[in-house]
């Protein structure tokens, strides 16, 4: 993967560089507005830019759809991603690893913190029903799952984590308005740092559709999971880290 590998967007011919974008400009719909849209597209690297659709929204706005060729090249070898640094385990393997290493059930406390009432994410990971054909963490015999549901305050979460002697804390954040998910996560990780001696705090895992995987350190958590994460991945990560921690 160190060799540079250059790609361009694909419309219908390799290397044609075709993209499609849509946006709104705060201009009434007229020829000037369409020219403005083309200019913006040009500045975005789309040349030639075809303004294929322009529709007025109210008196002062116009919505555009633009097709065109971008002149940018993408070097795939320069792409940075978080590689999975833990083995994927089946539920059976995960259970066996916990049994072998902890000789008790591994405790996971989860919930949606702050005012977020969207339990879709946490439920997909925790509920036995699961997600994407994989059973949720409740299905794992050696995991004890405490799902606190929606709108859990940070102090409540810390308290329950302490009461349950949680090995891992799982937090889901769906609402992202005004970066609520980032603020809440930082508040949460700070609270755990304060409440536990260094090295003793539970594994902190956050997830949600708008998180960036690379932000774990910045947010003070051990792992960030993003869109499309399955229960198996979360379980594998937790089991891997906790059993490693125990071994070291």
């Amino acid at each position: 993967m160190t060799d540079s590998q250059i790609v361009r967007p694909y419309g219908d011919t390799t290397g044609d560089g075709m993209v499609q974008v849509s946006f709104t400009l705060p201009l009434p719909h007229d020829k000037v507005a369409e020219g403005a849209a083309a200019q913006l597209a040009n500045k975005m690297g789309i040349d030639p830019a075809l303004v294929v659709h322009a529709k007025p929204i109210g008196a002062g706005y116009t919505f555009f759809v633009v097709y065109g060729r971008v002149n940018h090249l993408v070097d795939v070898s320069q792409v940075e991603i978080v590689e999975r640094d833990y083995p994927l385990l089946t539920p059976k393997e995960a259970n066996a690893a916990v049994k072998r290493s902890l000789r008790r059930r591994l405790v996971v406390v989860g919930g949606c913190i702050g005012t977020d009432a969207h339990t879709v994410g946490i439920d997909a990971i925790l509920n036995i029903k699961g997600f994407a054909g994989e059973k949720g963490l409740e299905y794992y015999r050696e995991l004890k799952v405490v799902n606190l549901g929606a709108q859990v305050s940070v102090p409540q979460l810390v308290q329950r984590a302490r009461e349950e002697k949680a090995d891992a804390v799982l937090v889901s954040q769906v609402v992202t308005q005004r970066d609520a998910h980032l603020l809440n996560t930082r508040e949460m990780s700070a609270a755990f740092r304060e409440s536990y001696p260094a090295g003793k705090r539970p594994l902190l895992v956050v997830g949600g559709p708008r998180f960036d995987e690379t932000m774990a350190a910045e947010l003070g958590v051990d792992r960030v999971f993003t869109r499309g994460t399955t229960p198996g991945e979360v379980a594998s990560f937790i089991v891997h880290r906790i059993t490693q921690r125990k071994a070291s």
């Binding site: 929204i57 005012t115 609520a180």
Partner: protein, 538 residues
């Protein structure tokens, strides 16, 4: 709203057995009635504060704590020996006014907070006099609600009503009332018939209603009396401009449900989200607190001519929309029972349901149609509220746009009263101006192309849709029977026991836990609340 031209003697288009509808309703009544008597036996801090608000007490102290809270807390503390709020605030408060402790409620609240007044429970002739004075004061608030209702009818007559159903329901949620206003006006100009101002997340868990015009909300704008007034005035202006009355919606839910309901009535809001069990299940508010608050708030809504919107869509955000379809119907039946008991009429019941089946499931659209038709046939006179897909909306906005189109089609086919416009960017961003415009084009296209399709459409007898609706109805009756026979160790009403063991939305909410429990008081024999008295009278 829809014809009842099915088979002779059978209601609706599905031709389901009316005896089963009757049976389902009878079970809802059996389950609901003990809850109503429980609600009648209790009061809450918020019911008492709503009563003070109806009597005209407004404003807050320097810390932003409303005077209604201050006053209620002092009365409760002073009467601690006699059971706190067990007698209601009316008697001690108007007794203090009669004794000349202050000239008006606001001064009384200020003095009480400063600790210069001691409240007592008047007896005999003094109690009678306090009763009369309280009734006059609170009666003024009820009269103002009545006047606002008449005013609404007058404005609709003058400027015209929404030209068709479903009413197009759009949401604004900037956090700043002064940003909300132009957005709401723009949404109305783009075609919205109903504007909902989403509340700041977390307001449902505040045990007070913030004061004044607010500019700092989180994913929404605080519900305050002043915000209500500002938005209603702005939409009145837009209604005149557009020649159709734009309805305003907010949320009578959470710990301050009765107070928000009172403020909505006083400021002529038109619809309120008000579900019988939402707060219990999704906000972990104490069940008894919720049922007491809910009954009072619905009595106010009934009086104010406000249409309630119930929250059944929420069940499907946490449970599977196929497996849990009958929990929606069950909740609709309970919401209907509680609403009617509180005095609401059929036209005020915006019973909720949603398009949330996984689009990968075979025949998902036919099942959506079956569920929506069941709601329509079961509640033929209610303006059902149809909620768009959220759970299976992904970053694929193009697919989402198609899904919203099918959602709109079900809406057209089943005569929905209120249609919350689905946004293709549901899972991505708070809606952009272009998202809203595209969403409205989607609705318009479907209504224009297929709005009258229901005239031709009749599901085949014994076909998939009829059978699915029958199945859901059967499961509903089964669940209601199960609830009716539920018990717990404390001999609580069966519905409380059922809520405690996780029957709804898989969340377990025991009656002795949850937020706001300490604000509940069992009424003493001589409890007096002039608002309840006037609202019960009907």
């Amino acid at each position: 709203m829809t014809g009842t031209t099915g088979k002779p003697g059978k209601p609706g288009k599905l031709g389901l057995d009316p005896a089963e509808f009757k049976r389902a309703r009878a079970l809802a009544r059996t389950v609901g009635r003990p809850i109503v008597s429980l609600a009648k036996k209790h009061t809450t801090v918020s019911v008492e504060r709503a009563t003070l608000r109806l009597a005209g007490l407004q404003g807050a102290d320097a810390d932003g704590i409303p005077w209604v809270n201050r006053l209620t807390d002092v009365v409760r503390a002073d009467l601690h020996e006699q059971g706190g709020l067990a007698h209601g605030v009316a008697l001690p408060v108007w007794d203090a006014l009669r004794r000349g402790e202050a000239d008006d409620l606001a001064t009384l609240a200020q003095k009480a907070s400063a600790g210069s007044i001691r409240f007592r429970l008047p007896e005999g002739r003094e109690a009678k006099a306090a009763t009369t004075a309280a009734r006059v004061a609170v009666g003024k608030g009820i009269k103002r609600i009545d006047a606002r209702r008449v005013e609404r009818e007058r404005v609709i007559k003058k400027v015209g009503d929404a030209p068709r159903t479903p009413w197009i329901y759009l949401i604004v949620a900037t956090g700043d009332i002064y940003e909300d206003i132009p957005q709401a006006q723009a949404a109305a100009r783009e075609g919205a018939d109903v504007i909902a101002v989403i509340r700041s997340t977390g307001q449902s868990l505040l045990d007070y209603v913030p004061e004044g015009a607010t500019r700092e909300g989180f994913a929404g704008t605080y519900a305050t009396q002043e915000n209500f007034r500002l938005m209603r005035a702005a939409l009145d202006e837009t209604s005149r401009e557009l020649g159709r009355y734009i309805r305003l919606t907010n949320y009578a839910s959470g710990l301050c449900m009765p107070e928000i309901a009172a403020l909505a009535g006083l400021e002529r809001l038109d619809m309120m989200l008000n579900d019988s069990m939402y707060g219990i299940l999704f906000r972990d508010i104490n069940p008894i607190r919720t049922f007491v608050d809910q009954r009072f708030s619905r009595q106010i809504h009934a009086r104010a001519g406000i249409i309630i919107n119930t929250g059944e869509d929420n069940y499907l955000t946490t449970a599977d929309a196929v497996e849990a379809a009958h929990t929606v119907t069950t909740s609709q039946l309970l919401n209907e029972y509680f609403a009617k008991e509180a005095g609401l009429a059929d036209w005020q019941l915006g019973l909720g349901h949603a398009f949330e089946i996984d689009p990968e499931v075979p025949d998902s659209f036919r099942m959506e149609l079956a569920h929506a038709m069941l709601a329509r046939d079961l509640f033929p006179k209610a303006p059902l509220k149809w909620m768009p897909p959220t759970r299976h909306m992904t970053g694929d906005v193009f697919k989402g746009y198609l899904l919203d189109g099918f959602f709109n089609l079900v809406g057209a086919l089943t005569g929905q009263g209120i249609l919350l416009v689905g946004m293709m960017t549901e899972a991505v961003v708070t809606p952009w101006i272009s998202d809203r415009d595209l969403a409205l084009q989607n609705v318009r296209y479907v209504m224009n192309a297929a709005g009258n399709l229901h005239e031709d459409f009749r599901p085949a007898p014994g076909g998939f849709i009829v059978n699915r609706a029958q199945e859901v109805l059967g499961e509903t009756i089964g669940l209601l029977e199960e609830i009716a026979h539920d018990t717990d160790d404390h001999g609580d009403p069966p519905l409380l026991a059922a809520i405690a063991d996780g029957t709804f939305g898989l969340m377990k909410r025991p009656p002795d836990q949850g937020r706001g429990l300490d604000g509940v008081a069992r009424k003493a024999r001589d409890y007096y609340n002039p608002a309840s008295e006037l609202l019960e009278a009907k």
